[in-house]
Symmetry: D3
Subunit: 279 residues, 6 copies
């Protein structure tokens, strides 16, 4: 869920970005007492999310605007489907239109892309598709939510939320074993120790020191397959490294637990949503 105290501050800042110096066009052309109705509609097949942001945009502009959800967060909408209905002062609807669409289009874009990765999994696979920390600066909480709306899962939220040992940490600490030992001693007992490995040898070492999660970075399908045998349930298995949608079917069929995909958030295009005025 997106908690109100978090999005309140975000929406306020973004409203000021677009509307901080007024909207002369709307104020001059549209009578102050005009009332309008509109629906936010899908203009292509998509997975919709973003209603909490749309609601907050209009709540901050004018409490008289009524926002009604016409579909669930994470629901598939066909082209032409309606996601949200709006009714209120026409001026307010016009002033909040762009920001509410900018949120919904991007968030639904992330959800839709995620859903396509999830749908690409091998039949019966229980692999998770997750995001990474490669999110848009300032919008991480929103994008992680959108990934979940698309059927994906979240990875650690930030540098403080779990230990994830990468190649530079290993190099600085002098190996996987000392890295894990030091990190385990420092980390809270509430978080898992995750360790990225590049080779089977590193994988063996990571298993020996009993990390919770091994991250197979840039492994080929064959290497993943061999790794799975070696791991044999001793750790959660995450695969990372620019995994394309094409490889999802194969990798998920190998039984890995997690495939993390930076593209979900760093390269999702906005989907096409628009406001159609109905009165």
């Amino acid at each position: 869920m997106l908690e109100l105290p978090v999005i309140r501050e975000l929406v306020s800042r973004c409203l000021i970005e677009d509307l901080g110096r007024g909207d002369t066009t709307t104020d001059s052309c549209v009578p102050h007492d005009a009332v309008g109705r509109a629906t936010m509609d899908a203009r292509e097949d998509l997975v919709f999310c973003g209603a909490p942001l749309v609601e907050e945009v209009f709540a901050q502009l004018d409490p008289r605007v009524q926002v009604e959800r016409l579909c669930d967060e994470g629901e598939r909408l066909p082209a032409g489907g309606a996601a949200i209905s709006l009714e209120g002062p026409s001026r307010t609807l016009l002033k909040g239109e762009r920001l509410s669409l900018n949120f919904a289009q991007r968030m639904s874009g992330v959800a839709t892309l995620t859903r396509s990765f999830v749908d690409a999994m091998a039949s019966g696979a229980s692999t998770r598709i997750t995001d990474t920390r490669k999110t848009t600066p300032g919008l991480r909480i929103v994008e992680r939510y959108a990934v979940r709306c698309g059927g994906g899962h979240s990875h650690r939220s930030d540098l403080g939320a779990a230990v994830l040992i990468k190649d530079n940490h290993v190099a600085a600490a002098g190996g996987i074993t000392p890295s894990v030992t030091r990190a385990r001693a420092a980390a809270t007992h509430a978080t898992r120790i995750m360790c990225e490995v590049d080779t089977m040898e590193q994988l063996r070492e990571a298993l020996d020191v009993r990390v919770d999660v091994v991250v197979l970075d840039n492994f080929s399908n064959e290497q993943i397959s061999a790794a799975m045998k070696l791991i044999d349930g001793r750790a959660v298995v995450e695969v990372s490294g620019a995994v394309s949608k094409e490889r999802i079917t194969e990798i998920s069929a190998l039984g890995v637990d997690v495939i993390s995909i930076g593209a979900l958030t760093h390269s999702a295009r906005a989907v096409d949503l628009g406001l159609d005025w109905t009165g």
Copy 2:
């Protein structure tokens, strides 16, 4: 240019988003006195930008980090080319790595996409490729800068920066003529009056009331061609409406002044940049 007072606040907020609860992994694995050197390198052909953000990220973390620009903002970098060199405490480099890449990858992604649109213009055309208000919430100033680094131009920065009369304004005001009349009376003399038109009839009316810019929305190439004859230099001509890269050559050859493209900012994928450690 990106002014320091603006990006200072943005970078601070985004650093806290990722690092606000510390980085146990790095603090435990990397000695506090280790010093590192790295370069931010292109992993594909791209147009680079984002150095001011990278500099600010590290300036806020630790003033001892030295950041050197190895290429200009907006410069084309081939795969393997180096954009920025970093030297300083290894811990700091690791803590700022992700955010600096998140900024640079997205900004360079926008610049690279923009450049591809600019390069698609007809030979000799002086048409401008511009962004729109369809930017990422909270990052408009940064994305507009990236568009310019890619050879594009900016559109109006926000609702307060110019009058742009759209279909809903026309409908509310009862036609193009009253819309323009009212907006001109309300707007400052420092901004232009821009008017979106859907038909040749609307175009004629907009020219009659002497708008500064006509925006031909969703016109076919033939319609644009006819519109250009009608306009005959009486207004700046902007073409909008989901213009694909393929149509850029043709439209720019028709002599329009501006093609505005929401995709530059709402659908640019991040380009591949990485930090390579050299010591």
Copy 3:
């Protein structure tokens, strides 16, 4: 219009400035359940504005306070006229009294001064009286609104909202022609190119490179008259340079489009408004 997201932040900050450490006097002297009624009254002839700020002050303090507007924004009030009625917990009325008056007195002061300049125009003149960027730091949006309430118009909102070439830019660029050429290439197509000129020669050059607005800086009436003949409708004409109210009649009679006056915002005195308790 003053949008809620903008004034919400401003009012919150200013309430904390005055009330951040409590109001012992009121809390000790006034019973918590006392209810009061008051009107904000003009104590001299004035043009009133500021109701949105007054409403927001009390909305943030206690939603039970009822604020009713007794006159329109920008309406002339004679001494003794009532602008706003308030009803609610007496403690809250007392705590918000000073800030709401500080806003209303200053804003009405700007509106009243502006109205006096507007009223000084030659009969039938369509000249605009505008503000400048010489506004009170932090209150620009509010003061620009007050100028419009007084019958004036706004100038560009900030450095990013239009190009305005001044003497230092001309000197740095090596003349008016290169200044305008460079600025036009850099500026968005949504903004106008404005150029300040000190002499007829500069004016000629500015017209030759077809600026949108010429700003005649410190021209005498005779020089303005000569300039108008030269310009002959080829550009919007703005006059600037400490224009006194006395000269407004003459200059507006010359047919200039705009007279910009820093004094509207940098030297308006507060008008006398007070809270009269009616129960």
Copy 4:
């Protein structure tokens, strides 16, 4: 003194107000490596203050700008006198010019007006001229400083800084005695109890309950004179109520301790200061 942590936040906010969307004019016309020198000069006789704000404006824009104070805070400058010299990148000087002048002109305006009131005092009088809470919203700390630079003194900084019982408090509490009693019980022992009185009778009552400061509101010179005899050193005496400069001489000659004047901050005009380029 103006402490850095306080003005840092203020200056940052105000820089973003003016420069948040860039300065296309300067960036296009002025070479990035141009260096300039300028002095901030008085264009009329004035009392200068505001250097800490000017310094902070340029420190935040570019630490390479050198700001040198050529006069003391609160020093009288004749027309033509130089207050501050600036040297640094020309672009930065131009971008910070307006805000630094907006601060200095307003602050020096307050200081200059205050000085004129102070100078109007009777020869040998030790009366203090003070401000009130009628300051510009958001700028109280800065305006109080300016009053002190002009030879004035500060009144209580905000509602929490002292007890000041006014007519509405008296009415709500049922008289001066209960007001003072309750307020004294509630107030800290570090603050004084001040009480506004409208009549000699109220004054007598206030003295009987031993307030620290009596505020004679809207008393005529004769009434003040009579009051002084009655008070006879038993309380600090403050005179308030739209005291004009003309009455200052007479009132100060009566030996009152304090004359508080809202006009110092609510109605000071900006004085004329400008930036003169010297290279």
Copy 5:
């Protein structure tokens, strides 16, 4: 009283501290439409305060939560007594539980400790127990309020709220007389001049220059007694210096006006309050 504009900002910030990245546990385990009821109960004898913070926590999370006060601020609650009842969406109650308790436990802890000092006063004594500036960074306004709820009083709120001359000021100024003279000249007439003294000689000097408050720092009971005779009503008398609860009875019996105690805020333990679910 705690004013809404002040605690609104504080509560928002603290909610984000705990809930800024969501509450997966609650969102997954608790149905979105579950409704709960709970009371905040004392688990030991205590003086309760903090209701305004608890109300604001839930108001910001979800306006549907109903918060009812079951006791007054500053009321003594026996173990088992109920302070507040809550009813609303179970998820919201769980998400706000910890922060509302963190506020109430600490604030009630301060109030309870204060009450124990107040209760330790000699029978009939009118001495005030006050806090100091030794408050928790960022929570001063809240802790001062809690002290008052416990029957204590406030000291000066911050460095700007009164003059308090300490040993270092005396040393720097060259004695008590020059310190007081300079400070009195600089301070507003609305604040008192307080001076810390370490010896009878310093006390004599402070009385000679007529300070409003003398602060007897680290005086023994005998020294206090001697000082009281010397002072003889000529100044308010404050005793400071790590006064233990045991000495309160004796010192208050000596007739001092104020005993200031840093421990009230710097060393109060949280009292035991818990949320008991009733449905």
Copy 6:
């Protein structure tokens, strides 16, 4: 480590809390060019921490102040030992004294209390002493750091950092098994599933569904002992529930992994640190 971007914002806010309206006492009594030297000294045996905050306080006030650390963070200082030396403008030292002490006294108080719990552990025990979410609102990051300086460890940082199923979650979900199942499905693979249990039966169920951490809430020593046998290494074992220092020895001897203690942060008293002037 405490990262600069995080404490920068905190220190700025707290400096304004104390110094936002200036320090008249210091500015009037202490010459502007006086230079002072002081050390922050322990006045009782303690574990010191807080140097990063002290450094930041003075860095923000005046970069000329030199702050030198005389001991390590987390080092035991005997009464009389020096923690930090300061040298710089006397005015600045006085203005920052209180806030820097407020931080250091509280943080060192938490560290000292934590150390006493750690020292109470059975010889050879590897049990961790951790904090909880019962931290001071707004200071969580700082207090968690202090706990670690005292030899303790951190618990989950906030609601979003790990799953911790408590009695209300169990009740709402209809048992431990459905709670864990749902939470595991919802939680990231980077966090652990922790479950509070009140009975041996609940413990059995939690182990059956393989939670990562079991939290034995309010178990007697005997119950803990029995639980340890049952658990037999299948989960990390945390003991919670108002564990006194006296019980630490016994419980740690039972081999539990973690004892979490709210008192470390909610009830630590400030230790006595003072600034001693040396010149």
